[in-house]
């Protein structure tokens, strides 16, 4: 392979940046900082991917992770006590277990990287990765792609059901009821007995 030395230099620098900012995620007190350190880590990985000629995946990584970490920051701040880390605190728990798990996974991955036999299948340099990706999506992987669509739709519906407080007919905890078929009538499409049990919206 022929590539300039500077690619190696940048690879090492970015790798260090990714690891250090990844470590800072667990060492900082502020949830916002933690989220965005993770973002920095992902961006470093994304640049490494671009260096590895995966231009689309690398740039897509910035894109996805920027949005995702933003949302994560919002939720972390919402639900964690002391979200800004005004008082120092310990961000890690179960030390022994996590150290062991970390060491084991590092060993396994390192072993794979060093020992596995990767296929040596060089492609000609003029192949456009984005184009191949597109053809793949419209070829063999079409079923996977469309099932992903269904899965994500399920996700969206799940999200709405679980998190939305507003319902179609009013706020969730008030027991939302569909409006009547005639103005002021009984809720439409509701079984009779449930209607009486609920006892809502009888404005005769």
């Amino acid at each position: 392979m022929d590539y300039p030395l500077i690619v190696d230099v940048f690879f090492v620098l970015l790798a260090i940046l990714a690891v250090v900012s990844g470590w800072r995620v667990f060492a900082t007190d502020s949830m916002v900082r933690a989220s965005f350190f993770l973002l920095v880590s992902f961006i470093a990985v994304g640049v490494i991917m671009i260096l590895l000629a995966a231009e689309y995946l690398g740039v897509a990584m910035f894109f996805m992770m920027a949005v995702e970490m933003m949302v994560m920051a919002i939720f972390m701040v919402m639900f964690m006590m002391n979200p800004a880390g005004l008082n120092p605190m310990m961000m890690v728990h179960q030390h022994k277990f996590s150290i062991a798990a970390g060491a084991v996974s590092f060993l396994v991955l390192a072993a794979v990287a060093l020992l596995a036999e990767f296929p040596d299948n060089p492609l000609s340099a003029d192949i456009d990765p984005v184009r191949s990706l597109g053809n793949e999506l419209l070829g063999d992987s079409m079923l996977i792609f469309e099932s992903a669509g269904i899965v994500l739709l399920t996700t969206m519906i799940g999200v709405v059901v679980l998190s939305s407080h507003n319902g179609r007919y009013g706020a969730a905890e008030e027991g939302s009821m569909p409006p009547g078929l005639v103005p002021g009538g009984d809720p439409a499409g509701m079984p009779e007995e449930e209607d009486e049990g609920g006892g809502h919206h009888h404005c005769h």
Binding site: N82, L86, N87, P88, M89, H165, A171
Partner: protein, 437 residues
């Protein structure tokens, strides 16, 4: 010290002024808004001159000191018809509105060129709570949420949310009396969860606002309707200026203000203003059906708010002179923010039309036992401060909605002095003293 080219350049900038709106100080601010080379800013951090316009009651000197200290150096203070604080006895005081803008520019120039030192800090350099070296880690905090890290406690949950019931933290702050988005003098304690207002408690009512003397004369005897109606239109246009500026429509706000300062504005120009407002999307994007008043509250507020809610409450329809001109009160139905602005614009137009008509026939009012002021009917009792109704109206609204609702409601009490009298400096101070007593 030699003045660097950078400082000389800075001296040529338009003067960023943070106005502290005291009692009867608005008039001069309207004039400044139309003055080239002076920029009225919303945050003291963006200003180089603190302009105290009008009297400030002594019980609000503490707040005034706090605002004063929040300007970054170099800055200076200028007191317009207002008594400088004791610590700032040497500060410039000006009572003549005509020389004010010149003084502001000169002051900025001197500040930039180093000819004038920055105003001294008034409050001691102490944190709100002592924290250095205290607590678990020497920064004042204790445990997870306790203590006063860096001088303040952390926000803790006070109550469940009023919308979705999540128990997250709520913030309680005192706003005002010099917050530029609130009416002058209004001070409130607000609890927020996210950007939603949970509770709103009025602490200090807004400062009374002075009407033009023609309204006072109308209670003594017949006055020309033309004069009365033009004064009414002027009042409403100034109110509109504030709201449009808040909504980010600076150009139209200034148009409204210019109309207010013209002695004989044409009702057609108000119609143009209304068309431009509708086209800009003001009614669709900024006022979205919030801030609805029920009938009883609307009646209590009176004036535009009542008529925007469909109540035909207007003293003018009692008066023979007005009946002669064919006056009929206009109303809207919805009673929300948008309806109040539509009503205001319609009334301004109507007032100018009435004025033009009345001028031809030289019509005068007949009854002098009451008068319709821009704030509502002044008959037996005058319109009083209604700011406490905000405590029920604003909770549940998002910050932007709450502020645009507040801007559309005119709740201020009326001053016992007319605009012309109140401009006498001792009077402004006297009102301040009197209110304290």
């Amino acid at each position: 010290m030699a003045v660097s080219w950078l400082q000389r350049l800075a001296a040529r900038a338009s003067v960023p002024v943070f106005p502290v709106r005291g009692m009867h100080g608005e008039e001069v601010l309207y004039r400044l808004a139309l003055t080239p080379g002076v920029e009225l800013v919303d945050s003291p951090r963006h200003a180089s001159i603190l302009l105290v316009a009008g009297g400030v009651p002594p019980d609000q000197y503490g707040a005034l000191r706090r605002v004063h200290d929040q300007l970054p150096a170099p800055f200076a203070t200028l007191w317009y018809r207002s008594q400088p604080l004791d610590e700032l006895a040497s500060a410039t005081r000006i009572d003549d509105p005509d020389v004010l803008s010149g003084a502001l520019k000169a002051m900025h120039h001197e500040l930039m060129c180093g000819k004038r030192g920055s105003s001294p800090r008034l409050l001691p350099d102490e944190p709100p709570n002592p924290w250095e070296g205290l607590g678990d880690d020497g920064h004042g905090g204790e445990g997870m949420m306790g203590g006063v890290p860096y001088g303040r406690p952390m926000a803790m949950n006070m109550h469940d949310d009023i919308r979705d019931g999540l128990t997250l933290d709520s913030l309680t702050v005192t706003l005002g009396p010099f917050l530029p988005m609130l009416p002058p003098g209004l001070s409130v304690e607000v609890t927020l969860q996210g950007d939603l207002i949970q509770t709103w408690t009025t602490r200090d009512p807004p400062y009374p606002i002075a009407l033009e003397s023609v309204f006072f004369q109308a209670l003594q005897g017949p006055v020309p309707i033309a004069e009365l109606e033009r004064a009414m239109a002027r009042y409403h246009l100034k109110h509109l200026y504030f709201a449009l500026r808040l909504a980010g429509l600076e150009a139209l706000a200034l148009t409204a203000l210019r109309l207010a300062f013209e002695s004989h504005s044409n009702p057609k120009r108000v119609a143009t203003l209304r068309r431009r407002l509708v086209r800009s999307g003001f009614f669709g994007l900024t006022t979205t059906g919030q801030g609805r008043l029920d009938e009883e509250t609307a009646r209590r507020v009176g004036g535009v708010a009542a008529r925007a809610a469909g109540l035909e409450e207007d003293w003018r329809s009692e008066d023979e002179g007005y009946r002669q001109l064919g006056f009929r009160p206009l109303t809207q139905r919805q009673g929300d923010t948008g309806a109040r602005w539509r009503q205001t614009l319609a009334e301004v137009e109507q007032s100018l039309q009435l004025a033009a008509q009345a001028e031809q026939d030289a019509t005068h009012t007949r009854h002098s036992d009451g008068v319709e002021t821009p704030r509502g009917t002044w008959h037996r009792q005058w319109p009083e401060d209604q700011s406490t109704l905000l405590d029920d109206l604003l909770p549940g609204l998002e910050w932007d909605e709450a502020l645009s609702t507040l801007a559309s409601l005119d709740l201020v009490p009326l001053s016992p002095w007319s605009l012309e009298e109140a401009s006498g400096a001792p009077v402004a101070q006297a009102i301040a003293e009197e209110r304290r007593a």
